[in-house]
Amino acid sequence: MSFLELQNITKIYPNGTKAVNETSLNIENGEFVVFVGPSGCGKSTLLRMIAGLEDITNGEISLDGNIINKIDPSERDVAMVFQNYALYPHMSVFNNMAYGLKNRGISKEEINNKVNDVAKLLEIDQLLTRKPSMLSGGQRQRVAMGRAIVRNPKIFLFDEPLSNLDAKLRNQMRLEIKRLQRQMGVTSIFVTHDQTEAMTLGDRIVVINNGVVEQVGTPKEIYSKPNTKFVAEFIGSPQMNLFNCKIENGIAHIADMKINLNNSTNLDDATLGIRPDDILISDNGKHSCVANLVEYLGSDMIIYSKIGDQEFSCKLSSKINLNSGDTFKFDISGTSVHLFDNTTGSRV
């Protein structure tokens, strides 16, 4: 039995909206799992159901062997970091962190030790007497983390905790969250709509769309073998190129371009996906196109072009000399493409 088990979880709001549909998931002890998906896909609802802040319409959640459906959030022994931190504005940083411990009847001395230890770990030991309103965004973030850590819960739940920080601080906190999670080995679930956060943080990623789990896997699996068209499009930056095509005897026809897939597939209505960095540009490439637009990103550049009337992009080292309007030659290897059946949307 897994540490946290979700079985056929469904959430229907009173107004009839189905936020989560028949979701099942097993999470092992010590794992760092990231829920990722576009906004409104139900990932936060799922997290809040695990926390107990949202009723479960159908299904069962069990934590550490006990079914927790009906257990009050205060008894579940989970800690959550909220998007807007939800620090207690009238309490000092120390009291913010100590409040949960006080409610559990822990002795003053022990509370002191625990809070001070965690404050040192997060480098906020200088701020313990301040009120949240006197802290910067990054500091508030740390306090919110500290409040969760100090309770030593069974699970950490993160609800988009980095989205209110500026880019630089976000990267820094991301690394720190990863480091802390490794160090403490506490099972964690992190909700985000940012795929970079998902890829870098998670041991496993759960891609959710419209209340349904599209794919569960390691970041590598998700990236290299997306199960559905949605996952293929959602993960990876720049986005994967998707071409509508017809496949006859293992040869994909995109406009007048032919790509040999080295198999014997036959599909009338298919989508062929190619990551922008899997398009290999070379002087003796088989295909050629005109670069409509070149975006310079420093070490890389992105070229936007068209095959027939379908747009695509490719990413290459900016050492290559190519300007808008130039014609370039490229190859696409049949082994690096992803094939989806358009009728089911799933991988072939």
């Binding site: 959030p73 807007n84 207690y88 409040y99 949960g100």
Partner: protein
Amino acid sequence: MTKYISSTINHFILSIGLLIMVVPIWIIFASSTHSSLFINTNGLQFFLGDNFIDNYSRVLFKQSGFFNEITALKMFFNSFVMATGIATLSVITSLMAAYGLVYFKVKYATFIFWLIFITLLVPLELRIMPSYIVMSKLNLVNTFAGLILPISASAIATFFFRQFYKSIPDELLEAAKLDGTNSFRFFIDFLIPLSKTMIAAVFIFMFVFGYNQYLWPLIMTTSEQYWTVVMGLKTMYGSIADRFAFVIMSMIPPVIIIIFLQKLFIQGIFQNK
């Protein structure tokens, strides 16, 4: 230069406002330090006289009323008890009512709230007969409880607290829940400290409201022992100097309350969190 002019104009306007408010009070105060005879012959006074201690101590300790059963000092005590009682109870009842309406999943909470709010259309003067009958059936005529209870629930205070609670983000309650708090502790540990400034503002409003009550204590009390300051002002004293002294003294309790709670009061009124 324009800055200098506009600030001069501002100060000029403010000074006029200040004079309009302060001068009448000063004239009453200055006159109250002269003897009645002197005022009767020379009119209102702008400068202090030398009967201050005489007049004020006579007013404070003189037995007065129709049956000479009460002193001004006792009236101050009565008014203070009544005003404090009304203010304290209003704060407590409206805090709790707002808490119930906002944080518990009460069916028709909005409807119930508007029902409470509609009571503003029925001020005490309108329901004075039924209120009196209820109090008299409860044997509360001529008691402080009778003076306080019928005016100790405030719809407007409930409204203030409700709006304030609605502006507190839900995440605060959720975070507190995960930290193991229950409904009662959330009220004590979060809502009360967070509404501290609003409590001060409501307390001052209700204190002044209670202190200014005239009709209700007039009807509820048959014994002079329960007369309040405002009732005293009406039935007070023959000599003009004594009346002036009493008027000045009657202003002191609300002013003291405001001075003490001023800082919180202003924060409470302008709270825009």
